[in-house]
Point group: C2
Chain length 225, copies 2
């Protein structure tokens, strides 16, 4: 990957880029490294690891918590154009926890080293601000996941609803708007849309203007049980 | 409370204060309101509420998630000098979730209104940076709580250990260092210290140089079960 392409990606997805001096931009470009990962590879391994800030060029990454006994809890997924800063926790005093990150698809990832990120954060408050705002975005993702896991409500309710619908109509597609579904499951449209997006990222449904097509009945049934 | 006292609290605990212009400081002082809460009072009630940024002058607040069915999950506690920004989520695009905040003791809380905070964040990047860094601190608190809740390990293990110790010695105080306890429960000293601090905030133990004194055996036993 050439420097111009790296600069293009950084300027598009790292919003502090425009606030860097020419010297800082050049320094960042020479520090940035592209790494390719095969599907299933471990990218960041909790406390034994500090990869720095990463920007996904291609593919999909899954971030999760891992217990001592090996239990995994998926926190969120990131795709092309997304930035991850939890992998730079060693240089971020406000982040005192560790996560695991795997490649869920063949992925290409840009890395900005932790030491370089740290020096840039110390010099440029726009970089510091970007990093903590990005961390706060992930905080929101995690809180959403926790709501689902701890209160076990919407995912199951929505799965039950979709399962009942396709059983009733003998059609793999549910021809309803998110608004209508929300009314039926007693929730808000935003909540249903977000959950459907999650179902879609899990390969359970396919969303289109025409409705919600179930593409993995087995997974849906498991959720509905 | 007079203006000088408010300014003193802001300058001590709102680290962006020194980066405000005189005009911004004056504006903030005239926007800031002190409110007193009795123990048990609700301070912030999820999505129906947007109180702005708050700074605790006195007392203790508990932040928790609330399910539709009324189930509560404690996320963290804040005390004198701590700042909360989750109560300003309506003006923070990166925060898409809602929490509940109660007073656990009689408390005095300074409020900076959401609209004023928003206008200050737009004008002054140090304020924006402070807000998102504070949110990231809370992210760490929440992740710690989630680790405990989802993986149910250290709290229970530590409670079992303490329970066994006091039964063995017929003494309410466990005369061991955190380091020694950590070795015995197979964990790191930092983890044990943090958990003991949590036990202490829950009124289960009292920590001193001499050791760990159990002050609520019933609560400890319940944890150990």
């Amino acid at each position: 990957m050439d420097t111009a392409e790296t600069a293009g990606l950084l300027s598009a997805h790292f919003s502090a880029w425009a606030h860097l001096t020419k010297e800082e931009q050049d320094g960042m470009l020479s520090d940035t490294v592209l790494t390719r990962y095969a599907k299933g590879a471990c990218i960041h391994n909790g406390e034994n690891d500090c990869k720095g800030m990463l920007l996904i060029k291609k593919g999909q990454l899954r971030t999760y918590m891992l217990s001592e006994s090996g239990k995994e809890i998926t926190l969120y997924r990131l795709g092309a154009g997304d930035v991850c800063v939890l992998s730079a926790s060693c240089v971020l005093s406000a982040i005192t926890f560790e996560v695991q990150i795997d490649a869920e698809e063949d992925s290409e990832v840009l890395f900005i080293s932790p030491l370089y990120l740290q020096s840039l954060m110390e010099r440029n408050i726009h970089v510091e601000c970007f990093v903590y705002k990005t961390a706060t975005d992930r905080f929101s993702d995690v809180m959403w996941a926790m709501q689902q896991i701890l209160f076990m409500s919407m995912d199951k309710r929505l799965a039950v609803f979709l399962w009942d619908e396709i059983a009733k109509t003998a059609d793999d597609t549910v021809h309803l708007t998110h608004e209508q579904v929300a009314r039926d499951v007693g929730s808000a449209r935003e909540v249903v849309s977000r959950m459907l997006k999650y179902f879609s990222s899990e390969g359970i449904v396919e969303l289109s203007r025409g409705g919600i097509r179930i593409i993995n009945k087995q997974k849906l049934r498991k959720l509905a049980e």
